[in-house]
Amino acid sequence: MIKGLFVKKKKYATIPTGKVKQDVPEGIMSKCPECKHIMVTKELKKNLLVCQGCQYHYSMSSQERIASLIDEGTFTEYDADMISKNPLDFPDYLEKLESDRKKTKINEAVVTGEGKINGLDVTLAVMDSRFRMGSMGSVVGEKITRAIEKAIENKNPFIIFTASGGARMQEGVLSLMQMAKTSVALKKLSDKGLLFISIMTHPTTGGVSASFASVGDYNFAEPKALIGFAGRRIIEQTIRQELPDDFQTAEFLLKHGQLDGVIHRSDMKKTLGTLLKIHSEGRR
């Protein structure tokens, strides 16, 4: 079933999946950066970009993520044409945005929209770490807020896949305030009794970790994902001691009671589908 999603790209009107081929490992064979296992690239993609040797989860583009989760042909994107301004007149910011737009074929670091998972309606936001490290500026905050408002309007569950280095420096305190903006929207969603599931993928740090990523009714993460508030180097400098290797990994957070679970990518759609089913049966 999943196989088909990557091949039949034509059905996706709003998200061009054609680019997937250029982005993920070039050539016929791919070498895992973790265990050096060599795989046929086609097989790697079929395996949802998870190494067959060591189960290393490659980063997924937003387009690939959506294709791996949403029932074929059911995705409608929101606000695809929203783009960042340069509110602080930061040198080179607009050029960097333009170059990331060309590289990723998306206009900002989050893709939002609605679709179905196993036949059940969801509103979805997927962050994309290839675009400015998934950092959150005004557009990311606005798109997520609008998506939450659409979820409220349609009485849909809201699911977010986070991947972000945190706040976007170039938009200064405006980016900090997006943490508050998305939070007031999430509060409204929650007060309506609607479901919010957060799945943290590599990396989820800083302002994104300290806002919507951490306040799902369910908080999950992909294996080995880096998740934390402060940067490892800053912490090491502050406390003057070395941190354990697994510090700020999904498994570390699970051990410290910060996550409901760590979910392998191959189980992601199934788990989300089951949760959505549990909630749809219980819907008031």
């Binding site: 044409d81 783009i83 405006l174 943490m179 939070s183």
Partner: protein, 325 residues
């Protein structure tokens, strides 16, 4: 005087000169009145020009001044019968955040704020005003209590940021901050936030989702410290001054960006020059803010907060030259 601020040096030099002349006049019994008067006029002009054209970096220096009034200072001036309440009921008591109940002109309120120390000993106890998760959870506990008993909440913001430590991460620094943002959004009582010193990133925002957010004239509010920004942007923390200018972190900047409501004027040279008078400035803004909010219903308070944050941000569209605000 603990620390002389760089941009104030010419003023201090002139003050010293005047003092010298005065003592000289007394000692030697020579009339230097004219000369002294001339210098005093010059001093007054210099003060006016220095304090009316403050650069972002000057304000950063004032915001960080060791003697700048803290949350507990303002509590003592603005409120009566303050009773401090401790602990998050989960792990411990974080002294980098203080909170409690008090009267504000006969009105019962809850007051919460970051608390830094004024000397090394107190700073160690208060972790330099940089909270751990239990600090934010204590704050939230007190906010929920305020909501239960229908008391307005006043938050003073004054932190370099949430503490970047191993234990803080283990206990869920991210979740603690995020939870406060979400829960503050839904509080059914008036919430007024006042930045009194440094408003450092998520650690500041975790006490900062209010119906009104005001800033003292020389306080700062930023996504990252100027030093941190310089380190990331130009790989050189010594360019902090430049970063302070380009990051737009001062009260006038935030007012212009549509993030804060009012700038609270500071006494000449900064709040530390006269804390009591500074408290009076805060008092008048606090009183009018509270009066506005006390007439609003619970739903209106939540809706006002929603609209306030919803409109923050600047963006456009691909085929659109018009900026949507």
């Amino acid at each position: 005087m603990a620390a002389e601020l760089e941009f104030e040096r010419p003023i201090h030099e002139l003050e010293k000169k005047i003092a010298e002349l005065k003592s000289f006049m007394e000692e030697k019994d020579i009339d230097l009145t004219d000369e002294i008067q001339r210098l005093e006029e010059k001093l007054s002009r210099l003060e006016n020009s220095t304090y009316s054209e403050m650069k972002p970096w000057d304000r950063v220096q004032i915001a960080r001044h060791a003697e700048r009034p803290t949350t507990l200072d303002y509590i003592s001036y603005l409120f009566t019968d303050f009773i401090e309440l401790h602990g998050d009921r989960l792990f411990g008591d974080d002294e980098a955040i203080v909170g409690g109940v008090a009267f504000y002109k006969n009105l019962p309120v809850t007051v919460i704020g970051h608390q830094r120390g004024k000397d090394t000993k107190e700073n160690l106890r208060r972790n330099f005003g940089m909270p751990h998760p239990e600090g934010y959870r204590k704050a939230l506990r007190l906010m929920k209590q305020a909501e239960k008993f229908n008391r307005p909440i006043i938050c003073f913001i004054d932190t370099k940021g949430a503490y970047p430590g191993k234990a803080a991460e283990e206990r869920g620094q991210s979740e603690a901050i995020a939870r406060n943002l979400v829960e503050m959004a839904g509080l059914t009582v008036p919430v007024i936030c006042i930045v009194i010193g440094e408003g450092g990133s998520g650690g500041a925002l975790a006490l900062g989702v209010g119906n009104y957010v005001h800033m003292l004239e020389n306080s700062t509010y930023s996504v990252i410290s100027p030093e941190g920004a310089a380190a990331i942007l130009w790989k050189d923390a010594s360019l902090a001054k430049k970063a302070a200018e380009s990051m737009r972190i001062t009260a006038p900047d935030l007012k212009e960006l549509g993030i804060i409501d009012e700038i609270i004027e500071e006494v000449k040279g900064g709040a530390h020059k006269d804390p009591k008078r500074q408290a009076e400035e805060i008092d008048s803004v606090l009183e009018s803010s509270l009066n506005n909010l006390l007439s609003m219903s619970q739903d209106e308070l939540i809706e006002q907060r929603y609209e306030k944050y919803k409109k923050i941000g600047q963006f456009g569209f691909v085929n659109d030259s018009i900026v949507v605000k």
